[in-house]
Amino acid sequence: MKRTNELIVGLAVLAVISVITWGIFAVGDNMTPGVSIYSGDVFQLHNTVLGIVTIIGVLVFTAMFTSIVVHRRSKGHDAAGFSHSTKAEIIWTAIPVLILVVMSVPATRVLIDMERTGGADMNIKITGYQWLWQYEYIEEDISFYSALERDSNRARQLGSGVNPREVDNYLLDVDNPLVVPVGTRIRFLLTSDDVIHSWWVPDLGWKRDAVPGMVNEAWTLIEEEGTYRGQCAELCGADHGFMPIVVEAVSQEEFAAWVAEQREEMAQTAHDAARLWTREELMNHGSRVYQAQCASCHQSDGSGLEPAFPALVSNGVPSGDLKSQLQTVLHGREGTAMDGFRDRLQPQDIAAALTFARNAWNDEGTEGEIIQPASIAELDQG
């Protein structure tokens, strides 16, 4: 009689818990299957393990709630006196061990695949900075920085008044995406220039830390063309949430065209570093550089965020002389969040940003200094 009770209630409880579990899976999001050669394996492994632990959970909770329903004092159930069973202990030690062994086999296989980084067709070095990424295509000799796109950057300022829902790909868009060919085995070499970052695009199936002083390896082979978005995943300071990653996977031909285009731009950049710029050109370009590189700490109006991020203007006048300001911009300031930009930006970017910062909020109406790209190196020397 009692056993039938437990069985009937048990089946009913199992039904209820199964429905609840189904509901939990129905309303939620799951991991992405991704687009790389093994991201599908990771996804499948995740689903397998999730399935196993769900079944374990459902069975454990069924036993528990059956007991809660049947063995209650309010129903006049008297307590049994048993308090141990070696047989039971052996069973519920052995079964979990077997389940774990079953899980560890595919986990080991997928991990070994993911860690085999040899035989790459191309190598890309990724360097994390506070708070942007640098990509260097080692074979193609192309290098550029990739930071949060301007619209997102403007919208994400405290009290910006911009509705994030009206910004395309809010916080997940960059100025210069990482362009890679599909069907190519790419090895990534990850490192950092300042603090630890972590490079993560869920569709590729992994994240890997970028640690200063260390080079980590990871690889991918993207199978589908498309744009894949991710973010820095390791807390790296104030703007940790604002250094997204965008990977554009294109066909081999498109990639070749893109490489040619980059080469052309590099030639233009070298030319720009040497020529003379007008004040207007410097101010326009400087405004763009400033908003992308400087505004997140020093704010768009140069007022800073004391005490961590000093103001660049006091009473409308640029604080500090040009020389010391340039030194700070080029080499950073030790013990603070201010990094050196000498390797990160082109001379024309630095010259323009400095020109902008020293003139844009100058209420006095004086003609502030303009700084020519060509004179940066000279000013730095002496």
Partner: protein, 537 residues
């Protein structure tokens, strides 16, 4: 000798200071236990207020309330306050109150040190919380204080490190005291394998504390010298290694996780038998399971850092070792269910919280098994999936167990029954909203939302909104807990010595409220009165 004894006696029963001096100078385990518990309750609300700042900012996409830097200070301080200020002192408070009464000892073995261990804490936390008001702000590098980021902050880092040192000293002294008490002061006949599970889990926890708090102290001291004295332990440019810090930190950090859950296992192992009116199933296997978890906790640390770049062999080792922890943990859960099975259960508030613990901790444990799977961990790591996981084991695990313990022993402490209706309401309110708070975070993590970000892409908006609503409801609901405790301390139905019909053990043989001094004459524990007689057959 005889004079010394008589002086001691006077000190013991006469001359009890009143007012502030009573609390400042107390060497009584019950008073110090109360101090710890009140301190922990205050810190629970301080840390909770910080969590609400976090959830308020994450209520909708875009930055509305705080600067990202302050947001990072909140996540960092929330964790430090909750771990070191709320959960750990609560368990120490419970140990202070209950361990001597459960083993038939008159007090803790080292009462003056006991006083000191507590009174260090308010100073440590004053220093820690003071950093919020310093010009460079509180630490903002996460509670793990990973370099190089933690070294970028201001001078307030020194205050944080010294506060951690003070907490460490307090914890180590508390642990020494608990070990000395349990090993030396058990009543005659209270053999080790007759001790209540709560005492066992605390004994093992105390060893963990002594083993790992010095490791944390070493790690943060190296941070201190790197930041202020020009060393380069963790500075790659000076020949150091930032990853070294993570290895040292998590060698402390993983046992720390068990420091916060083993006493919870002990509490639940006391409560479920009482309200099932049936002895704890598999007592001996519970003791061995606890010891194995403690041992394993020392060899799994690197599972917190699978993405940092490790050799394949190391990843496989740490994956397998981590998976093995599921076995003793599973044994505990199965034993609890076997304890309920064919019992005569009733569902007073402590039992409700204990049952809530079993269900929700199991969910956290199962997501822990998922996190151990390295290839999948590469996706889960540092996302909201991890945040959901550790809040299931810490809030619905450790904190629910602490609440269960408070309801369970409150009548013994105050001599009054708490308001059962309100207690049950508190349980249901907390359970519903805590799940609204944390369950959607699993989805957020799987969908790709990293942790520790103050703002997010709009596809994460819905589940963040739900989570924030859950957070506010859960958080404000805890004021009811304070009201229930306050009401119970003030009066109410008189509690009997046994309090709960099914309660067994020495703490239920003394009157309620427990007099200031109990077991001046040790009780005799023989086969007839011993609660645990279980032997592996």
């Amino acid at each position: 000798m005889s004079t010394a004894t008589s002086t001691h006696q006077d000190d013991h029963h006469g001359d009890h200071p009143t007012g502030l001096a009573r609390w400042l100078f107390s060497t009584n385990h019950k008073e110090i236990g109360t101090l710890y518990l009140i301190f922990s309750l205050i810190m629970f609300f301080v840390g909770g207020a910080m969590a609400l700042v976090i959830r308020a900012e994450l209520f909708a996409p875009g930055l509305q309330l705080v600067h990202p830097e302050f947001f990072n200070q909140m996540t960092t301080m929330h964790a430090l306050v909750m771990i070191f200020g709320a959960v750990m002192p609560a368990f120490v408070g419970l140990a202070n109150w209950m361990v001597p009464m459960m083993i038939g000892a008159p007090d803790m073995a080292l009462p003056r040190m006991n006083n000191w261990s507590f009174w260090i804490m308010p100073f440590a936390f004053t220093m820690l919380l003071a950093t919020l008001f310093m010009p460079t702000g509180a630490p903002a590098a996460g509670w793990t204080l990973y370099p190089p980021l933690s070294l970028q902050g201001g001078n307030s880092l020194a205050f944080v490190i010294l506060a951690i040192h003070l907490m460490g000293i307090s914890s180590i002294m508390g642990a020494i005291n608990i070990i000395a008490t349990i090993l030396n002061m058990r009543a005659p006949g209270m053999t080790l394998l007759r001790m209540p599970l709560f005492v066992w889990t605390w004994l093992i926890t105390a060893f963990l504390l002594i083993a790992v708090m010095p490791v944390l102290a070493g790690a943060v001291t190296m941070l201190l010298t790197d930041r202020f004295f020009g060393t380069s332990f963790f500075n790659a440019a000076g020949g150091g290694d930032p990853v070294l810090y993570q290895h040292i930190f998590w060698f402390f950090g993983h046992p720390e996780v068990y420091i916060m859950i083993l006493p919870a296992f002990g509490i639940v192992s006391e409560i479920i038998p009482t309200f099932s009116r049936k002895p704890l199933f598999g007592y001996t296997s519970m003791v061995y399971a606890t010891a194995s978890i403690a041992f394993l906790s020392f060899i799994v640390w690197a599972h917190h850092m699978f993405t940092v770049g490790m050799p394949l062999g190391a990843m496989l080792f740490f994956m397998y070792a981590t998976m093995v922890i599921a076995v003793p943990t599973g044994i505990k859960i199965f034993n609890w269910i076997a304890t309920m099975w064919r019992g005569s259960m009733s569902f007073e508030t402590p039992m409700l919280f204990a049952l809530g613990f079993v269900v929700l901790f199991t969910i956290g444990g199962l997501s822990g098994v998922m996190l151990a799977i390295v290839p999948a961990n590469f996706q889960y790591h540092d996302t909201y999936f991890v945040v959901a996981h550790f809040h299931y084991v810490l809030v619905t695990g450790a904190v629910f167990a602490i609440m269960a313990a408070v309801y369970y022993w409150l009548p013994k402490w105050t001599g009054h029954m708490y308001n059962e209706k309100l207690g049950k309401f508190h349980f249901w309110w907390s359970t519903i909203w805590v799940n609204v708070l944390f369950f959607p975070q699993h989805y957020l993590g799987l969908a790709g939302m990293p942790r520790r970000i103050p703002d997010y892409a709009v596809q994460f908006a819905e589940f963040n909104l739900i989570s924030s609503i859950g957070g506010f409801m859960f958080g404000f609901g805890q004021l009811l807990f304070v009201y229930i405790i306050w009401q119970c301390a003030r009066g109410g139905e008189k509690a009997t010595a046994q309090v709960w019909e099914g309660a067994q053990g020495l703490e239920w043989t003394v009157p309620s409220p427990a007099p200031l001094h109990t077991f001046d004459t040790p009780p005799l524990v023989n086969d007839r009165v011993a609660v645990h007689q279980d032997k592996l057959t």
